[in-house]
Symmetry: C2
């Protein structure tokens, strides 16, 4: 998954054409690398297709075993297994866990150009199908197949990186673990359970999440955090049924008007949330993070023009700087209908759907509780279900609040300080093969990564490698060859880091 995290960062820069031994190896083994990727991505991999999921896990295990990595399949109930690999390095002071996932999004074969989501095809820019075996590969050609990019590509990058390192005599310095999940696209429903069950086998110093695309300008980025997210569904009750607005307007309270008032009370109208303690606990960006943000080329004016907006919130900060703050966003509202569906009624209820983005220092459940308290402080009797007749008799203002956090869907933010020694080592390692990297203290979006930290207490960094225009999650998913070659180099840098 993990897509578009970097969507908003328009940066300039050029790829480093390093004359290093890993890149040399890749250049002289392109055909082999493409073939091995094709063998990996031709196995269907929807997480509910357990026989094929097993085939995938076994193949990946074999790929790493043959490269000298001690592997095992972690199993829990009948869930897709975790493929765990480990390189123990004598004298290592750290253990680095490289995460990727081998399952993929569902496919609708008829939407794919070749009608075969699991038949890897090499195509040039015009869409012409080429033999997989080539003497010379144009780096703009692409390999099409489900999971070519998301997220089997990075698994293959790691395997090829091991070959390149061996061939170049580059040894590991840290202990390296490979942790490949088989149900990420299903929302990682058992990941936390796996992590708890096998905690002893996975504890280390850092998670590196190898998933997601680099930026649109194709420059390498490293992302040190994501905002967390939860949702609130808020219903304000009016009369038990819609009422004629002529007969009862001005006498029966209108729930749409009340909901509007409640939503208005959430903020000052200029982007500052007024819910009591909403910002309490927020960990602001530190000096290193602010410095990184200041280095991101400004995008704000171009975005305002693109979006057709004259002004923004955020107190004049750059967009990336605003990711230090949680948000309370009204993502939808509904009461009766508007336009031709409008009727002259007092609505029976009005509903708002809200998403909250969480930052470091905040907890989803706590934050939802603060919103609930705020609503109660506005005079509402707050339920998590429909009111009874008796409750309607007793309470003038009644609201229902249900939350993603309450149902287990909320997840907290993750943010790893850029100036952590291990973070600095990651930056150094990637920059050594990719040149200047865009450092993103936090993406604005959300990915449920908090469970990694919550169970293991280890910091976490995201290193995306595939092309942004990979049709991830959609039909005709693909991997650009330049990203394949670069990806191997980046993985070698990570596997070889101190």
């Amino acid at each position: 998954m993990i897509r578009n995290l970097l969507l908003v960062l328009v940066v300039s820069g050029s790829l480093l054409s390093a004359a290093d031994p890993v890149r040399d190896y890749v250049r002289s083994h392109e055909r082999e690398i493409v073939r091995e990727l094709a063998a990996l991505i031709e196995i269907p991999n929807h997480s509910s297709d357990l026989p094929n999921i097993e085939r995938n896990a076994e193949l990946i295990r074999a790929m790493f075993e043959k490269r000298g990595v001690a592997t095992r399949l972690l199993r829990l109930k009948n869930y897709p297994p975790i493929v765990l690999g480990e390189i123990k390095t004598p004298g290592a002071k750290r253990t680095i866990n490289l995460y990727a996932h081998y399952d993929g999004q569902p496919v609708d074969a008829k939407l794919w150009t070749n009608g075969a989501p699991f038949r890897p095809e090499l195509r040039d820019l015009s869409g012409k199908v080429l033999p997989l075996d080539q003497a010379n590969y144009d780096p703009e050609w692409r390999i099409f197949s489900r999971s070519s990019s998301d997220d089997k590509g990075p698994i293959l990058f790691m395997a090829a990186a091991l070959d390149a390192m061996k061939s170049s005599g580059i040894a590991t310095r840290a202990n390296i673990r490979f942790f490949f999940e088989g149900e990420e696209e299903a929302g990682s429903p058992h990941l936390a359970e796996y992590l708890r069950q096998y905690k002893d086998l996975v504890m280390g110093d850092l998670w590196i999440i190898c998933d997601g695309p680099v930026h649109q300008n194709r420059q390498q980025s490293i992302v040190f955090g994501v905002r967390g997210a939860t949702t609130i569904e808020l219903t304000v009750y009016g009369p038990k049924k819609e009422l004629h607005s002529g007969h009862y307007g001005g006498w029966v309270p209108n729930p749409a008007q009340r909901l509007a008032r409640l939503i208005a009370s959430f903020s000052d109208g200029e982007g500052h949330i007024l819910v009591k303690d909403f910002y309490k606990g927020v960990v602001p960006f530190n000096g290193a993070e602010l410095k990184a943000i200041a280095s991101i080329p400004p995008v704000e004016d171009a975005l305002k023009e693109e979006f057709g907006i004259a002004d923004v919130e955020g107190d004049g900060q750059s967009l990336a700087a605003t990711y230090a703050k949680p948000t309370l966003n009204v993502r939808g509202m509904r009461s009766v209908d508007v336009g031709t569906g409008g009727r002259n009624v007092i609505p029976a209820e009005a509903v708002a759907s809200i998403d909250i983005r969480l930052v470091k220092g905040l907890d989803a459940q706590t934050e939802v509780g603060r919103v609930r308290d705020h609503i109660a402080a506005q005079g509402y009797f707050v339920l998590d279900r429909e009111p009874t007749d008796e409750e309607r008799r007793k309470h003038n203002k009644i609201a229902k609040l249900t939350s993603g956090a309450g149902r287990g869907f909320g997840y907290n933010s993750v943010r790893t300080p850029l100036d952590l020694p291990i973070a600095k080592d990651v930056i150094r390692a990637v920059e050594a093969v990719s040149g200047k990297v865009v450092l993103i203290p936090s993406a604005g979006g959300s990915v449920p990564l908090a469970m990694f930290q919550e169970v293991t207490g280890m910091p976490l960094i995201l290193v995306p490698t595939v092309n942004h225009d990979n049709n991830q999650h959609s039909h005709n998913e693909n991997l650009r060859l330049q990203n394949l070659w670069d990806g191997v180099a980046v993985m070698a840098a990570l596997i070889g880091m101190p």
Copy 2:
């Protein structure tokens, strides 16, 4: 049309069984009356069915001609004609116009029990079909057919009233006009044009609108006014397209939040509208109106229980008293979606649909203008169309406001003082045959009656007569026989008034 205006008034009382000559006549001519009604309602009468509309108009004209009423068909273009009848009374000091309409709602024959909306049937309470000709009619039996109640019934009541008066030797005292419209159910699209064109023929002292049902408890009512109505569709603009709420939340202003704030600004949250001058010009209920309202049996507690609400707006007044005030009712809101349709986006726009109820002294266009001014005063650039890119660049807050008033759909309130001498005469006349009548200074709902006043300057009073449970506008429309007998008595009282 005119239905349910009285829905909210739960009153107690009993019908007067007056031993008056009109009721005596009716009792001895029930079979004739039923037959003549059947002949009238068996002609299809949708306003677009011009050949049948003509047949209706000709029959009605003939019905009144044979009773000595001078009649003519007013014609304008190819619109359904107005049937105009006149009784000139020597020495009369007043001219009373009795309005009804002879067109009906569309029909869907397959929904009708007998499959024939224009085949009048007499049925008992069990639904058993009885011959139209009966020696004795149970007053709870009903005649089924389109327009039996809405609104050919009252036309027949008037014709039968003339017979009863003649038979009883009751003479008219005022000049009486019968004004029967043929396209009320289509929204009276040409009524104002007719009134203007034939103003000289229709000018008089009072319009009595004979349409609509009496109250659910079957007690006779007189309604002296209705609120006017107009609508506003209000759109607040955000970014040109929905945006990812993670990437842009907290930076790009949210139009749903802004719309909520705008709606909240319309009122104080306790039913008082804060739009500047919103109440300016309101004519409060006068002493006679307040006295009538005080006589309406209280319904508030029962309604609160029925609606499941603990408290109401209106500063502790009775429901009927609140009809003195205009309302601004949010009848619908929409932005993206809620529930399972919710998406983590900043909406591109948010829309509210509003209906405004107008009272005496207010004008629809003016009131909409006040709302527009209020929105502008909140910092909005207010358009009546989508903003251009250039406008988006220049204005931070942009709203679109369109209105029923602007499109010609708004209409003002009508309210006739109860203590007007002519109003007192109407009350006296109806009470003489119906006993204690519920006097309603204004209904809460709206019917486009203002054009009668605006063109002719004459006051207007509504006298409903048919049963409330008549399935008006729906299939199996019917007229309860007791309402038929009572209706003739009420019409005779009106035709015979001074």
